[in-house]
């Protein structure tokens, strides 16, 4: 199964890259932006055909390596 996960910075954590992207967008004329937060996206093809089990495996990966839970949250957004 292909499992997709996104990792985002927690609310209170400063995201300087997001800020610079916001400023650049603003300079390009995109004036309707409140805030930009940058994150990571993973697509992991696991050798497991049961969607629930596949999700569990990727959640375990997020807990142990892909995310640092002090500053980041993760969310499984798609299993197919």
């Amino acid at each position: 199964m292909k499992v997709s996960a996104i990792i985002t910075l927690k609310k209170d954590v400063l995201d300087p890259q997001g800020k610079v992207i916001h400023q650049t967008l603003d300079g390009m004329g995109f004036k309707d932006v409140n805030e930009v937060r940058q994150g990571k996206y993973f697509e992991i093809d696991v050798k497991e055909n049961d969607p629930k089990k596949a999700q569990k495996i990727v959640e375990d990966m997020c807990d142990k390596l892909l995310a640092n839970l002090v500053i980041e949250n993760y969310k499984i957004i798609e299993i197919q």
């Binding site: 400063l14 300087p16 390596l65 002090v70 500053i71």
Partner: protein, 227 residues
């Protein structure tokens, strides 16, 4: 006194650390990240560099390498483990010291000499140092120390802040903070104070003709403390 410096793929301050440790009396051994066992050591050092190309998050891959299992075991049994720069990032990723190191606040790679304040001396690293303000070198892109409010309270209650960024008079104000670190924190201990992580490089300050000698003071004192 025996020491071990771990080399990860992408470490680049491992040899400098080896030279510094040997210069001040350690008998140092280089250890490859893929080894399983640490040699018998009084001090283990995780050096600076860009382990695994800083992929995913700095230090995250290195913290899962084979040798780190032994390093974690050694640290948990009270052994001295010091992480400098990327080594500090590996320590936070392995959970040996609390917090994380984020991208520098102004998104610049910083490479310069800074002053740091060391006034926390109830530990094997800084005990008997007879001054408080040191000039060390920093070179990093992710040195912006961050932790949760709960963690910060615990760190401060346990006196775990090891080093602060300051000016030449030891003033730890925000304007002397190069990278946006919480409370000007440049280095942190674990609870027992046998594990030290810091962004500054004392090993770059051991030669009078090339730099300063504040690193020499640190290493001379360290080996005397361990003896």
């Amino acid at each position: 006194m025996k020491s071990a410096v771990i080399t990860f793929p992408g470490s680049n301050c491992d040899r400098d650390m080896h030279v510094a440790l040997n210069k001040f009396g350690f008998k140092n051994q280089m250890v490859w990240h893929n080894d399983n066992e640490l040699p018998k050591s009084d001090l283990v050092v995780l050096p600076g560099g860009f382990s695994y190309g800083d992929y995913l998050r700095c230090g995250s891959m290195a913290s899962k390498s084979k040798i780190m299992q032994s390093v974690i075991k050694f640290a948990k049994s009270g052994g001295l483990v010091m992480g400098i720069c990327n080594g500090f990032q590996i320590l936070v990723e392995s959970g040996l010291v609390p917090g994380v190191l984020l991208r520098n606040k102004y998104l610049e790679f910083i490479c310069k000499n800074v002053f740091v304040k060391i006034d926390n001396k109830d530990n094997p690293y800084f005990k008997n140092l007879d001054k408080e303000v040191f000039e060390f070198h920093i070179a990093h892109n992710e040195g912006n120390y961050f932790c949760t409010n709960d963690q910060l309270k615990e760190i401060e209650d346990n006196n775990q802040v090891a080093i602060y960024y300051c000016n030449d008079n030891g003033k730890t104000e925000e304007k002397f903070n190069p990278n946006g670190s919480l409370k000007n924190i440049a280095g942190i201990f674990n609870k027992k104070k046998n594990v030290l992580g810091m962004m500054p490089h004392p090993e770059r300050m051991i030669d009078k003709s090339l730099s300063g000698e504040d690193g020499s003071l640190f290493f001379k004192n360290l080996i005397n403390n361990i003896k």
